[in-house]
């Protein structure tokens, strides 16, 4: 699907200033997005996924520090000046925020909101920008775009607003759209429409999409590859179908089992015990160990490195209890991944 790398994120770390001091919110995260690819980033709230997305565009609150490299078209976004960064935002990389009820300006007509960045970035006249806006509204299947431009956000339903937000993100024909929980605030019936719209846009326009969500069900249908984040780190990474078909990290597995009607196995839905760690109270070692069913003594002292386990998959779990050869009656899609022998996977008492 992908014909080349569009965005390369290397060793991205973000330190946030909280009330209790500086905290590491994103810890050496690396991933890449190909052109026309949909990358999913999954994790519970507080896993660092939104912070990761915001840091790419320098949109973090004051007092935060970002290190690493975010390379788009050979340029490291983290080294850009404010003005240069603004010319990337909305133009090369745009973003769709979570809740369309609050992300559209309530007092401004859709036309103003749809054209202001087009006119800024593309130096278009008012009429040209308006034409562009109409075209984009049609692309996201808003009935009667003319009428929509003259309206205010409160005149639309949630699903329609999110379509408008996506049209806005598309308006400057960006290379990458970051969608932060684009369906979370919507009715289930509307969610599928938004997802298939994103899928269609990447097929027709070749735009890459980074979808951030806590809902693996959302990703299973459209994302090509998937990063699972926990406690600011990527814990599992691979082709979506394979990761979800045979999750190797206990956390991914937990997320899968927490889905209602998980993958048709008839297994009753089971929540992950405990709650995600807060920045002020990050567990030592593998930050998931206090909630992990398979935790061993060593898990609390050593941070497991993200290592390749074959088939382009990466895993950060040393005991690797879900490896196909040791898990109890292996789950159906496990055949696709071939585990590489790894000395670190040895059980330590």
């Amino acid at each position: 699907m992908s014909t080349g790398t569009l965005l390369e994120v290397e060793d991205l770390s973000v330190r946030l200033r909280t009330a209790r001091g500086i905290r590491l919110a994103v810890d050496h995260v690396s991933f890449s997005i190909g052109q026309g690819e949909i990358l999913g980033i999954a994790g519970e709230s507080g896993s660092g996924k939104t912070i990761t997305a915001l840091s790419l565009l320098g949109l973090l609150p004051g007092g935060s520090r970002t290190t690493g490299r975010v390379v788009l078209d050979g340029r490291d976004l983290l080294t850009l000046h404010r003005r240069e960064l603004r010319s990337v935002r909305g133009r090369q990389v745009s973003m769709v925020l979570q809740d369309p009820m609050t992300s559209l300006h309530p007092l401004l007509r859709i036309e103003v909101q749809m054209t202001e960045h087009v006119r800024t970035h593309l130096a278009m006249s008012k009429d040209q920008a308006r034409e562009r806006a109409l075209e984009m509204l049609a692309a996201v299947r808003i009935p009667d775009p003319e009428q929509a431009l003259a309206s205010h956000p409160h005149q639309f339903s949630g699903g329609m607003r999110q379509r408008i937000a996506i049209a806005m993100a598309l308006a400057c024909e960006p290379r990458l759209i970051i969608a932060d929980e684009p369906t979370t605030a919507l009715d289930v019936t509307v969610q599928a429409g938004i997802l298939s719209l994103l899928d269609q846009l990447r097929r027709e326009r070749g735009v890459s999409v980074m979808i951030i969500t806590h809902d693996l069900g959302v990703l299973s249908s459209i994302s090509d590859r998937l990063c699972v984040m926990y406690g600011g780190r990527i814990v599992e990474h691979g082709v979506t179908r394979e990761v979800l078909g045979s999750p190797r990290h206990p956390y991914t597995n937990g997320l899968m089992q927490a889905l209602p009607g998980a993958s048709g196995t008839g297994v009753p839905m089971r929540p992950i015990g405990g709650s995600p760690p807060s920045l002020d109270d990050m567990p030592s070692g593998c930050s998931f160990h206090p909630r992990c069913d398979y935790a061993q003594v060593s898990c609390s002292s050593k941070v497991p490195p993200l290592r390749p386990i074959g088939g382009g998959r990466l895993l950060a779990c040393d005991p690797d209890p879900l490896a196909p050869d040791r898990s109890e009656p292996s789950s159906s899609g496990a055949a696709t991944s071939v585990p590489v022998p790894d000395p670190l996977a040895e059980q330590v008492p």
Partner: protein, 364 residues
């Protein structure tokens, strides 16, 4: 979605030339009709309250208005009371007052012996001019500084502005007035001591009654300069409290808006910070500011009593004060009605402004 269908109706209703506006002429007419009706009822209620209060005051209008010797003569006192209808039962007095009011007659002032309406026509424009000047200053300075403080939150500028606004709201108006009078008139001589115009200047032909505006309408620049010169100091003193209030309120509402998702969305689009603030932050903040300015205008009107007396500004503040100490009942009633009327009109304007600023609000 129900809100969708409602919205569609509204759009069909209003979109001409592709500009959807909730405020239709017919809707505005209905709204104004209703509000004017409510305003009239309120005015009648206010006459009752004012009437009862002025008559509850333990005092004797005759004693306040007649000299010592006249007061010793029961016949004169009786004649005075009869002249102003004070010998009738209070209820009858009220009914008579209302009857005259229907004909636009507010009675005769016991002090000036002129029709209260005539007095008010002379003094009200002066106060309106003063209060308008003060509110414009408050809006420009207060909103401007408030936005600046919010945008530079936690920085030095913010600190300085916050101290200024705190001073503004905590310094008593009478003290500021005396201080300003002493400093800028007596010490520095930058501004005249009081009144509305210099001694050698004749008032402009009456159009609005606001000397600055009338002077401009007549194209008389020296007159305008004199009127403005006299207006600035009392206007600033009157406005200083409201400036403080507006700064604090604006800063708070901008800070509230600035963390909204839609502001983040504007930044995500790569707009300049100035555009984000101007277009996406200030406008929603103006909603609250409109309400506060309505209330602030009311407090300005009461502030005029002090300021007008200190600066010799011939407005209703001074008139109200003189009427009150002399128990000039018709005049007190007249002033109450005028102030209430201004208050009602200002709040009506604020509501209309609100619906213009916020498309979600329908005038009803």
């Amino acid at each position: 979605m129900t809100c969708g269908t409602l919205a569609n109706l509204a759009v069909i209703n209003t979109s001409l030339r592709g500009r959807a506006r909730r405020v239709t002429p017919a809707g505005l007419g209905r709204f104004l009709g209703r509000r004017i009706g409510i305003g009239l009822v309120l005015m009648v209620g206010i006459t009752l309250v004012a009437f009862v209060l002025t008559h509850l005051v333990p005092g004797n209008p005759a004693a306040a208005n007649l000299g010592q010797r006249a007061l010793g003569d029961p016949a004169i006192v009786k004649a005075f009371n009869h002249e102003y209808g004070l010998d009738k039962p209070v209820v009858d007095q009220y009914v008579i007052y209302l009857g005259k009011l229907l004909h636009g007659n507010l009675g005769i002032s016991e002090q000036s012996h002129r029709a209260v309406v005539t007095d008010l026509a002379e003094y009200v424009p002066a106060t309106i001019e003063l209060a308008l000047f003060a509110i414009v200053i408050s809006l420009v300075l207060g909103v401007g500084l408030g936005i600046l403080a919010a945008v530079r939150r936690g920085k030095l500028v913010d600190g300085v502005i916050r101290v200024i606004s705190l001073l503004g709201v905590s310094m008593p108006t009478f003290w500021v007035a005396l201080l300003a009078f002493y400093l800028f008139f007596f010490r520095l001589g930058w501004f005249p001591s009081g009144g509305r115009l210099g001694p050698a200047v004749t008032p402009p032909g009456n159009i609005t009654g606001l000397y600055t505006v009338d002077a401009l309408l007549h194209g008389d620049w020296s007159l305008f300069a004199s009127a403005l010169d006299h207006l600035v100091l009392p206007g600033l003193v009157l406005g200083i409290y409201t400036v403080g209030t507006m700064v604090r309120f604006t800063r708070a509402s901008v800070l509230e808006v600035i963390n909204n998702d839609y502001v983040r969305a504007a930044r995500v689009k790569g707009l300049s910070e100035w555009t984000v603030i101007r277009r996406h932050v200030v406008r929603p903040a103006l909603l609250g500011i409109a309400t506060v300015s309505g209330v602030a205008f009311g407090s300005l009107l009461s502030g005029t009593v002090l300021v007008e007396n200190i600066f010799g500004w011939p407005g209703i503040g001074q008139y109200a004060y003189n009427s009150a100490i002399n128990l000039d009942l018709p005049a007190i009633m007249g002033v109450s009605m005028v102030v209430a009327f201004i208050y009602i009109v200002v709040n009506l304007l604020v509501d209309i402004l609100y619906s213009i600023l916020d498309p979600r609000i329908e005038l009803r």
